[in-house]
């Protein structure tokens, strides 16, 4: 499988490590209301879609960047690759 890195171009999937659902970026506030349930959901509960899935990949044997890869789990077609940093910033995070 080839992942088209937004900065480096097409790179072999062997250079990457898979983490899981891209929603892991959205770590809940640990001291907020209902924090215990929110953290339980964050750590343990996952959607497991047959189809389009946004997931985190780490370019461990490359530039050490985290990526959000949109992949079809039925066909392995990769439709979008973004830097996780940019995704987090677009959601209002500072860095």
């Amino acid at each position: 499988m080839i992942i088209n890195h937004p900065l480096l171009g097409p790179r072999d999937a062997a250079e990457f490590v898979y983490l899981g659902d891209a929603n892991l970026i959205n770590r809940p506030e640990g001291l907020g209301d209902n924090a215990e349930d929110a953290m339980y959901d964050h750590v343990y509960l996952r959607d497991n879609p047959a189809g389009i899935h946004r997931e985190l990949w780490y370019h461990e044997q490359g530039d050490r960047s985290w990526l959000v890869v949109t992949r079809n789990t039925l066909t392995h077609e990769v439709t979008s690759v973004e830097l996780a940093r940019d995704v987090a910033r677009s959601m209002g995070r500072s860095r």
Binding site: L7, D12, A14, E15, Q61, S65
Partner: protein, 188 residues
């Protein structure tokens, strides 16, 4: 008590091999310093590279060179400065020059540096390097951090048939073995 005297030596003993159409040499004349750019400090860092060595900041997939100094991209906001030390250009002088604009770390003794050249160099690397080495996709000065066999490698294209390969010094013999075998097996 025994009186020890330590002598600096290159990890591969200054290797110089010819295999088929490949020439494989350990470069022992290059010093390495990594430089990480502080948050919000990119403009000052780029200006410092320019004033000190007339060196452009590398893009994510391309190294830059000015005189004896080369900047190899490693990750976002971090690069490896590879240079041939001289009377005025030393590890200490590079650290001092970047003191206020980057976080620097001496890396010279942490890496083994091989130069692979010759008509068979690209073919030998195609066997173990997952990066597309076609001259259009990876032109001269192109740089990538990747893996060969199971070993992390920084690769820089110095010329059409000439590559600089940096890998961890601790696994230098294994890395040499991987490259040597590849040169051997792809020899005509």
């Amino acid at each position: 008590m025994a009186d020890f005297s330590l002598k600096a030596a290159p990890v591969l003993g200054g290797l110089d091999l010819s295999i088929g159409q490949c020439k494989l040499v350990e470069r022992t004349d290059i010093a390495l310093i990594s430089a990480a750019v502080p948050l919000d400090g990119r403009t000052a860092f780029e200006a410092r590279l320019k004033t000190e060595w007339n060196l452009d900041t590398p893009s994510p997939a391309t190294s830059t060179r000015a005189g004896p100094m080369r900047a190899i991209p490693m990750t976002a906001d971090q690069m490896m400065l590879a240079f041939e030390p001289g009377p005025t250009l030393t590890e200490a002088s590079v650290h001092a020059a970047l003191d206020s604009d980057a976080y620097t770390t001496t890396q010279t003794d942490a890496w083994v540096i091989l130069e692979l050249s010759g008509a068979g160099a690209t073919t030998a690397l195609e066997r173990i390097c997952p990066v597309d080495l076609d001259a259009e996709a990876f032109p001269v000065n192109g740089a990538a951090r990747t893996t060969m066999e199971h070993l992390g490698v920084l690769i820089v294209r110095l010329g059409t048939d000439c590559f600089l390969l940096l890998s961890a010094r601790s696994s230098a013999q294994s890395f040499l073995h991987a490259v040597e075998i590849s040169c051997d097996w792809t020899a005509p």
